[in-house]
C-alpha cells in the first residue's frame, strides 16, 4: 500500500524534474546545445513533506537567505579559479554553522541525547573521496571528510576512530553547547515521548563544477532525530549519498537514508549516464521516482552534469535548494513545484 502511494505520488511529482521538452527549461537547452558553463554550483538543505502552510513567510525568507549565502560562498571560490572540492567545502561549512539545517550546529539529537555527525566528499577528477560517520565534537564534519580524502590512505572512518583522525589533522573542535538548538531539542523531546524516530530530513549537500572542468560533491548531516547509537544513513556512504565523476555528474542526496542505501542512489544516477548514455535529468528522475520510490523511500537529490547544468529531483513536497552559474545570480526554491532557472 505504501509502495502504491509512492508510485502514484512520484507520477504526480515527476514534473518537479527538469523536463526535456519544456522550452522554459534553460538547463536542458544549455545541455543539448553543448554550452559549457564556466563554473556552476548547486546546493540542498534537506527535503521533506512541507508546503507553504508549514513555513511562514519569515521562515521561507530565512531559508532563502541562508541558501543564497551558501551559494555565494561556494561561487566566490569558483569565480576566483578555485577548485570544485574547495567550493563544496566552503558552501557546506557555512550551512554547518547555520542552525536552520540538520548538520553541524543545529544537528538533531540521537536517542541518547548526543550529536553524531556524518559527512562525505568526492571529487570527480580521480574519484578520490573521504567520509566520516558518528563524528562527535568537531565543528565542520565536511572539512574532516576532506582531510580523510587528502591526508589519509583510507577513505572512511567511524566513531572514535574518526575523532582520532580529526584530532591528528588539527580540525576545529566544538563543545556540545555549540551544536544545541531549541528546535532540535524540541524534536528530540517529541521523539522521546513517542520512543520513535520521527524526523528524517534536513541534511545539507553541494555539487560544483569548477573552471578546470572538474566536478565535486559533498554531503553533511546530523542524521535522524532519536537515531540509535551508531546508525549510519546514506550521507557518508560513497555511492548512496554522494558521488562525483568528471565523465558524468556530481550528486548529493537527502532523504530517508535506508532507502537511498538500498538503491545506491548517487551511483545509480552516474551509472545511467555512463553505461546507458542517459541525460542527467532523465537519470535523476528514474533513480528517484522509479528505483528509490518503488521501495517506499522519499527524499531527493541535487546534481550537476559536466556542462554545469544543475538538476533537482525529489518525491517529497519540498526541498530547500538553490543554484548559481558563472555570470548569473543565485536562485533558490523551497517547494517541489517551484522551478529553478539560474
Amino acid at each position: 500500500m505504501r509502495q502504491c502511494l509512492f508510485i502514484g505520488f512520484s507520477a504526480l511529482l515527476i514534473a518537479c524534474n527538469s523536463n526535456p521538452s519544456d522550452p522554459q527549461n534553460e538547463q536542458q537547452t544549455r545541455s543539448s546545445n553543448g554550452v559549457q558553463a564556466r563554473w556552476s554550483i548547486a546546493i540542498h538543505g534537506g527535503a521533506g513533506h512541507f508546503g507553504t502552510e508549514n513555513l511562514s513567510i519569515e521562515q521561507q525568507n530565512a531559508y532563502r537567505l541562508s541558501l543564497t549565502k551558501a551559494l555565494e560562498a561556494g561561487g566566490y571560490v569558483l569565480d576566483k579559479g578555485g577548485n570544485a572540492t574547495d567550493a563544496v567545502v566552503a558552501a557546506i561549512a557555512l550551512m554547518e554553522d547555520d542552525s536552520l539545517f540538520n548538520a553541524g550546529r543545529g544537528a538533531v539529537y540521537t536517542a541518547s541525547g548526543a550529536h553524531e555527525l556524518d559527512a562525505s566528499i568526492m571529487r570527480g577528477s580521480d574519484r578520490n573521496c573521504g567520509a566520516v560517520t558518528g563524528l562527535q565534537g568537531f565543528r565542520h564534519p565536511i572539512q574532516v571528510a576532506m582531510s580523510v580524502m587528502e591526508e589519509s590512505q583510507h577513505v572512511f572512518f567511524s566513531g572514535h576512530g574518526a575523532g582520532e583522525f580529526a584530532h591528528s589533522t588539527g580540525a576545529e573542535t566544538a563543545e556540545p553547547a555549540w551544536f544545541h538548538t531549541q528546535k532540535a531539542k524540541a524534536r528530540f523531546e517529541r521523539a522521546l515521548e513517542r520512543d520513535t524516530t520521527q524526523e528524517k530530513f534536513g541534511t545539507v549537500g553541494c555539487v560544483a563544477l569548477d573552471s578546470e572542468g572538474h566536478l565535486a560533491a559533498g554531503t553533511s548531516t546530523g542524521g535522524m532525530t532519536f537515531k540509535r547509537h551508531g546508525r549510519i544513513g546514506d550521507s557518508p556512504i560513497i555511492g548512496a549519498g554522494t558521488w562525483a565523476d568528471d565523465r558524468t555528474c556530481a550528486v548529493s542526496a537527502t532523504g530517508w537514508g535506508e532507502f537511498f542505501i538500498r538503491s545506491s542512489v548517487a551511483h545509480d544516477i552516474h551509472a545511467r549516464m555512463l553505461h546507458a548514455g542517459t541525460s542527467l535529468e532523465e537519470a535523476a528522475s528514474a533513480t528517484i521516482h522509479q528505483e528509490m520510490a518503488a521501495l517506499g523511500g522519499d527524499g531527493g537529490v541535487v546534481a550537476i552534469d559536466h556542462w554545469g547544468n544543475p538538476v533537482f529531483s525529489m518525491n517529497t513536497l519540498g526541498m530547500f535548494r538553490g543554484a548559481l552559474i558563472a555570470g548569473g545570480k543565485p536562485v533558490t526554491a523551497l517547494f517541489a513545484n517551484e522551478k529553478i532557472q539560474p
Copy 2:
C-alpha cells in the same frame, strides 16, 4: 606508473574471466541458452598476489577443503528449499569459524591489537540489506548483519552501536581469545615493526540463487592488518562490497577496499547489466579490469546472475573461490589461471 602497470596487468589477466567465445565455458553456454539452474552458490575466501610458490600442497588442500565445506553448507540449505540469504549466512558463518580466513576467527589485528569486524548482507527480492562495521566480541558478524536487515528499521550500524544492537538480538558472543590466531598475530607484529598496513586481503563472501529464483550476497572481513581504529573498507558498504538484485545479479567483493569504494564495484556490475544489458561476465570484467584497476586497486569479485551462472573476476594472481550448482559437485580454485566449471 602504478596505473600503467595495472592496466597492462588487467589486459593479461582478463583471460581469467569467463570468455563468451570459449566453447569450454559452461557458464556462458547456460546463460545464452537460457538454462536456469535450480539453485546455485559461489564463494570466495579472499584475493591476493599469491602463486603456487607461496602455498604448499598441504596449504592448497586445506583451502580447497574449507571452501568445499562452505559450499556444501550453503548448498545443503538451498537443496532443502531454503532461501538464498540463509544459504549465504550458512556458508559465511562456516568460513568465519575457520581460522584460514580473515573473518570471524582468524581475523587480522587492528593497529591497537584488537579485532574490529565488518559484514554485510543483501537480498535481491526486495533489495533489503543489513551491515555492521567495527563489531567487537561477536562470533558471527554475518548473522548480526542478517539481524540488522530483518529486525531493524535501519540497515547499517557501527562500533558500540553495532554491539548494542547485536546484544539486543541475543547474538552469540566470543572472547578475544576466540579470534586469536598465530598467523594473524605474526602479521600484526610484522606490521608493527614497519608501522604500516601490509596485508589487505582475506575477506570471505558468498552469493546464492535459491529455488524460488531469489538472489542474495554477503561479505565478512576483519579488514586490513594494522588498520586504524574505525577504518571502514568496502565489505560492509552496500554497493561497494556487496549487492544483490533479482533483476540482475548478486556480487561479493574482496580486495583493497578503498578502491572498491571509489568504484562502487558491486553496484557498478549490477548497473551495467540493468542499464546497458551487459552480461554478468562482461560487466564484472569491465568493472574490475577497467573501472577499479584504472584507479590502482586490486582484488576481485564472485558473482552469480539470475540464471545461476557463477562468475569470478580478479586482477590479482589468486583468489580462493568455489562454486556449486544443483545436481553438480563443489569445484574450487585458488590461482587466477584455474578455470572453474561447476
